[in-house]
C-alpha cells in the first residue's frame, strides 16, 4: 500500500464520518421541528393524549442526541 493510498483511505473515512454526523444532526433538527408542530397543533385542538405524544417525541429527540454524541465519540 502506497502512502497516497493511505491518505485516500483516511480522507474517505473522515468524509463518511462527517456525513454520518451531519445526517444524525439534521435528523435531530427534524425531530425538533416535529415537536414544535405538535405544540402548535395541540393549541388548536386540545386533547389529553397530546401530552403523551410530546413525551414520546422528547424521548426520540434525546435518543437522537445520544446517538449523535455516541457517533462523535465512537467514529
Amino acid at each position: 500500500m502506497t502512502f497516497d493510498n493511505i491518505l485516500q483511505a483516511i480522507n474517505l473515512l473522515s468524509i463518511v464520518k462527517t456525513g454520518v454526523l451531519i445526517l444524525i444532526g439534521l435528523f435531530t433538527v427534524f425531530l425538533f421541528i416535529v415537536y414544535l408542530k405538535i405544540n402548535a397543533l395541540s393549541k388548536i385542538v386540545t386533547q389529553d393524549n397530546s401530552t403523551g405524544l410530546k413525551i414520546i417525541i422528547f424521548i426520540l429527540i434525546i435518543l437522537s442526541l445520544s446517538l449523535f454524541l455516541m457517533a462523535l465519540v465512537i467514529l
Binding site: 463518511v16 454520518v20 445526517l23 444524525i24 435528523f27 427534524f30 425531530l31 421541528i33 416535529v34 408542530k37 405538535i38 402548535a40 397543533l41 393549541k43 388548536i44 385542538v45 386540545t46 386533547q47 389529553d48 393524549n49 403523551g52 405524544l53 414520546i56 417525541i57 426520540l60 435518543l63 437522537s64 446517538l67 455516541m70 457517533a71 465512537i74 467514529l75
Partner: protein, 214 residues
C-alpha cells in the same frame, strides 16, 4: 270488550328519577377520547382554541383506525429487514470490512428512523380531526409535518350533508366519507374515511335542525 293492546305502565318512581338525572336540553359529556378513538359523541376531554364558553362539542371524528394498516405493515417489514439480513446474509458480504463502531451507529440510526416513521404516520392520523359543535363545524387537516389547515364554518351555512360508503373494506369495517356542502368560502368539508358515516351525517343533520338530543 277485550283489549287488543295494553301499554305497559311506567312506574312513577322510575320516571321521576330519570327526569331528575337529565334536564331537557342538558348535555351530558360522553366518554373521553382515547388514543385510538375515531368516533366519539359528546367527547369529554376535547376543546379547541376558538371555542366559545357556551359551545358544546357534539361529535369528534378521525379516520377509521383500519386506514393505518398500510403504514403499520410497512413499519413491521422495516423492523424485520435488519434481522433477516443478519440471519441470511453472511457477515462478510461487503467487499471491504466495516468497522464495528459504524455498524452499531448505523443500525441504531436505522431503528431510530423506523421509530420516527411510525410516530409521524401516527401523528398524521391523530391530528386529522373533525369536530361538530352546536354552532359550527371544524376540520383540521394535517399532513407532511409542516402543513396544517384549519377550516371552520357555521352550522347555519351548511346546505347539504351526504355520505359515501363504497368498496369492500369500507362496507366490512363500516367507514366512509361525509361530505358537507356549505354556502361559505370553503364550498365543502370532507370528513374522509370516518367510522359510521351514516350516524355521523344524521347527527350533523339533527344539529342543523336544532335537535340536540343525540
Amino acid at each position: 270488550m277485550t283489549d287488543l293492546f295494553v301499554a305497559p305502565e311506567i312506574k312513577k318512581e322510575e320516571a321521576k328519577t330519570a327526569a331528575a338525572k337529565t334536564k331537557p336540553g342538558e348535555v351530558v359529556a360522553g366518554k373521553n377520547v382515547g388514543l385510538f378513538s375515531a368516533f366519539r359523541i359528546r367527547p369529554g376531554n376535547v376543546s379547541f382554541s376558538e371555542q366559545d364558553d357556551d359551545e358544546i362539542i357534539y361529535l369528534f371524528l378521525r379516520r377509521h383506525f383500519i386506514t393505518n394498516v398500510l403504514w403499520v405493515i410497512t413499519s413491521i417489514v422495516m423492523g424485520i429487514i435488519p434481522l433477516i439480513i443478519y440471519l441470511t446474509v453472511k457477515s462478510n458480504f461487503l467487499p471491504f470490512p466495516v468497522p464495528p463502531g459504524y455498524l452499531v451507529i448505523l443500525t441504531s440510526f436505522y431503528f431510530l428512523i423506523v421509530l420516527t416513521y411510525i410516530f409521524i404516520n401516527f401523528l398524521n392520523w391523530f391530528y386529522n380531526i373533525s369536530l361538530v359543535t352546536d354552532k359550527r363545524v371544524l376540520d383540521l387537516d394535517y399532513s407532511d409535518i409542516v402543513y396544517h389547515d384549519v377550516a371552520l364554518t357555521k352550522l347555519s351555512l351548511i346546505e347539504d350533508v351526504t355520505y359515501i360508503q363504497s368498496g369492500f373494506a369500507r362496507s366490512l369495517f363500516n367507514y366512509g366519507d361525509i361530505i358537507i356542502q356549505t354556502a361559505g368560502e370553503k364550498l365543502h368539508f370532507d370528513f374522509l374515511s370516518v367510522p359510521d358515516p351514516k350516524r355521523g351525517a344524521d347527527i350533523i343533520e339533527n344539529l342543523m335542525g336544532g335537535d340536540h338530543d343525540i
